[in-house]
């Protein structure tokens, strides 16, 4: 009946079919993302929490209590000890040092770019920071090992009377800190610039200096966004692998001395999976348990910062 009314209907029907098919294809493309997240969670859980088929998962052999509270990570000796604490402490050292350097420097750079810099200066500095952000992490590891440790850490250690190891947590933390500077800067600058001009002008009209406006008006107004950018940067530092594998080393050890070699969770995964541990062995399974812990931590940080960012966006829109 359509045909009688509309001479083009065959063509139109084909078009409609084509459009619907395309819609389905595009929908599938978008849904892939859900599948990827689901696959990550599934993969991490199958090898660590419940076994697939007759496989035995990691936590069916090693109790959660041992995993969380054992102070030793030595999978290759005898029964094997799987305490994540040494890895966790190594990660904490690196992330802590990185945050100590990266967050303040990144935030100060962001304040300069958004409140002080002329448009010309900003257009010069931002691409340079992008270069810093684009340098591969393996290069940062090399930089830490060849330059930061001998030029900075060893003299500094000698000053304190500590013999610094060639691989040490301090150098790894410093380069990871440098690595997250551009990220903090660009994310924080975005939220600082999103603060309405009117707030700044009101401050200036009342006789405030630039310091007053930046610190007492703009920063508090952008605080939640800055916090979110900090969390994202910390989660990036937690997940950093190559720089710490090269600079910090791969010896799991529970230590309170950052001049010593340690091992982070990520470096442990990298070294274990490139090693000879055969698939199916408990050592092999252990990388899934470590990865699951890493994923849970970064996932929580990301969700939390997303939550903060979303709330923040609503304030000024």
């Amino acid at each position: 009946m359509n045909k009688a009314r509309h001479p083009l209907s065959a063509k139109a029907n084909f078009r409609r079919l084509f459009e619907t098919a395309l819609y389905c294809v595009l929908w599938l493309c978008a849904v892939v993302c859900i599948f990827v997240t689901a696959a990550i969670i599934f993969v991490l859980l199958t090898e660590s929490v419940f076994g697939l088929g007759e496989n035995i998962a990691f936590f069916q052999k090693v109790s959660l209590k041992n995993f969380l509270l054992d102070t030793e990570w030595a999978p290759q000796y005898g029964e094997g000890k799987f305490g994540i604490l040494p890895l966790f402490v190594g990660t904490l050292w690196v992330t802590g040092i990185a945050a100590l350097i990266g967050l303040p420097v990144g935030l100060a750079s962001a304040i300069y770019l958004s409140e002080y810099a002329s448009p010309t200066a900003r257009s010069l500095i931002k691409p340079l920071l992008e270069i810093l952000a684009g340098i591969p992490t393996v290069v940062y590891g090399y930089f830490a090992l060849i330059f930061v440790t001998p030029l900075l850490i060893k003299p500094f250690g000698a000053l304190l009377g500590i013999q610094a190891n060639t691989f040490n947590a301090l150098s790894g933390g410093i380069v990871v800190g440098i690595m997250i500077i551009p990220m903090v800067t660009s994310l924080s600058e975005d939220v600082l610039r999103a603060v309405p001009r009117g707030l700044r002008e009101a401050g200036y009209a009342l006789g405030a200096t630039r310091l007053d406006v930046s610190v007492k008006i703009v920063l508090p107004a952008a605080l939640s966004g800055i916090l979110a950018s900090f969390l994202l940067a910390v989660s990036r530092a937690l997940g950093e692998t190559m720089a710490v594998t090269i600079a910090v080393g791969i010896q799991p050890r529970l230590s309170w001395n950052p001049f010593e070699t340690m091992c982070t969770m990520t470096a442990n995964i990298a070294s274990m999976s490139s090693g000879d541990s055969s698939t199916g062995s408990i050592e092999y399974r252990s990388i899934y348990a470590v990865a699951l812990s890493l994923f849970v931590i970064t996932f929580a940080l990301n969700i939390f910062s997303q939550f903060i960012l979303n709330r923040y966006r609503e304030v000024y829109n």
Partner: protein, 348 residues
């Protein structure tokens, strides 16, 4: 009155001094970051030529230029003087090409769906949440995903013989599971950069003004015609910039490749290609590429830095880093050029 004024003047001067000091501190932060960048670039270049060696190791032979022509054309070697990175260069290029092949259509498709079709409902918000979370997942976790899903396929297919798909010019061999092949590597990296491409493309699509869509629809174009003929071309510079930046992530990424078991020491190019002409003259070489073992530039750097005891290999690594950074610089320059060139022309 006068003393009050004086006190006020004094306080004002102090406040302005504090303000100047604060701006100096902020500027110092930027200079710190830029100084580190300069130190990194200059230091590694000097290390490559053997002029500056802060570690104080290395034999006397270390003092020469390590970035030679043969370094670019030779395979890896146990001797630092004879080492080259040709396998890594080809590996990285193929990795970039195949990752682009998978991730570009997928990423743009997802972005088009989210920006042009999706209704603002709970499901769409769930997809968006997934994307922003995937962007924050550590790359090594993607490596574990690739190892389990692509390289081993959960261990469900124990040692099946490779399947061959005849394609006229040769046989495309696909082994199930994919193993430590380029296919595994590129699929893994596809999943890793997918969120980056989607987010960049979404922003590019969002910057296209609604009036363009309305005009096309008013002229009777269908939804897809509007997108394909108007919206996508207009947003192409932004999308391309995002893609180039994502692909430069691929070039520099190491951790996931280590986890899936890509070779760090290998003495042949993808598909056993000896000369570039092999790809044309012996098409089978080309078809062998996806199932071939491979290495990549950052993997070679890692091998030379961490696994080779001879300290001269640190200089070799420096030369490889310079090559890697040059490639990245060219790609970044391209991205900046596209952004500037087209943003001038397309000023809404």
């Amino acid at each position: 009155m006068n003393t009050a004024n004086q006190a006020y003047q004094k306080q004002l001067r102090r406040r302005h001094a504090a303000s100047s000091l604060f701006s100096a501190i902020c500027l110092l932060a930027i200079w710190f970051a830029l100084f580190m960048l300069a130190l990194l670039l200059v230091g590694i270049s000097l290390k490559m030529t053997g002029i500056w060696d802060p570690t104080g190791s290395g034999s006397g032979a270390g003092s020469r230029n390590w970035l030679t022509y043969t370094f670019l054309t030779e395979h890896m070697s146990r001797k630092p003087e004879q080492s080259g990175m040709i396998a890594g260069i080809w590996g990285s290029l193929w990795l970039m090409f195949m990752t682009g092949l998978f991730s570009i259509p997928l990423g743009i498709g997802a972005a088009v769906y989210l920006e042009e079709y999706a209704k603002n409902n709970a499901f769409t918000r769930f997809i968006r949440l997934n994307i922003s979370n995937l962007a924050g997942v550590p790359s090594i976790v993607f490596g574990i995903l690739g190892l389990t899903v692509f390289a081993r396929m959960f261990g469900m297919f124990p040692d099946l013989p490779p399947r061959g798909i005849p394609l006229g010019i040769g046989v495309l061999k696909i082994s199930i599971p994919f193993g430590k092949s380029l296919l595994t590597g590129s699929l893994t990296l596809t999943l890793m950069i997918l969120p980056i491409i989607i987010i960049a493309s979404q922003e590019a699509l969002r910057s296209v003004p609604q009036s363009l869509r309305h005009a096309a629809l008013a002229l009777g174009a269908t939804k897809w015609q509007t997108i394909w003929l108007q919206v996508l071309p207009a947003s192409l510079p932004g999308i391309m910039t995002g893609i180039i930046l994502a692909l430069s992530r691929v070039i520099g990424e190491t951790a996931p490749l280590i986890v899936i078991g890509a070779a760090t020491y290998i003495r042949y190019n993808p598909g056993q290609m000896e000369r570039v002409s092999d790809y044309l003259l012996k098409p089978q070489t080309l078809l062998d590429v996806p199932s071939s073992q491979f290495t990549a530039m950052p993997l070679q750097i890692f091998e030379w830095v961490s696994h080779q005891p001879n300290p001269d290999f640190k200089n070799v690594a420096a030369a490889a880093i310079v090559v890697l950074l040059l490639v990245l610089l060219i790609m970044n320059g391209l991205a900046v050029y596209i952004r500037h060139h087209f943003s001038k022309r397309l000023d809404w």
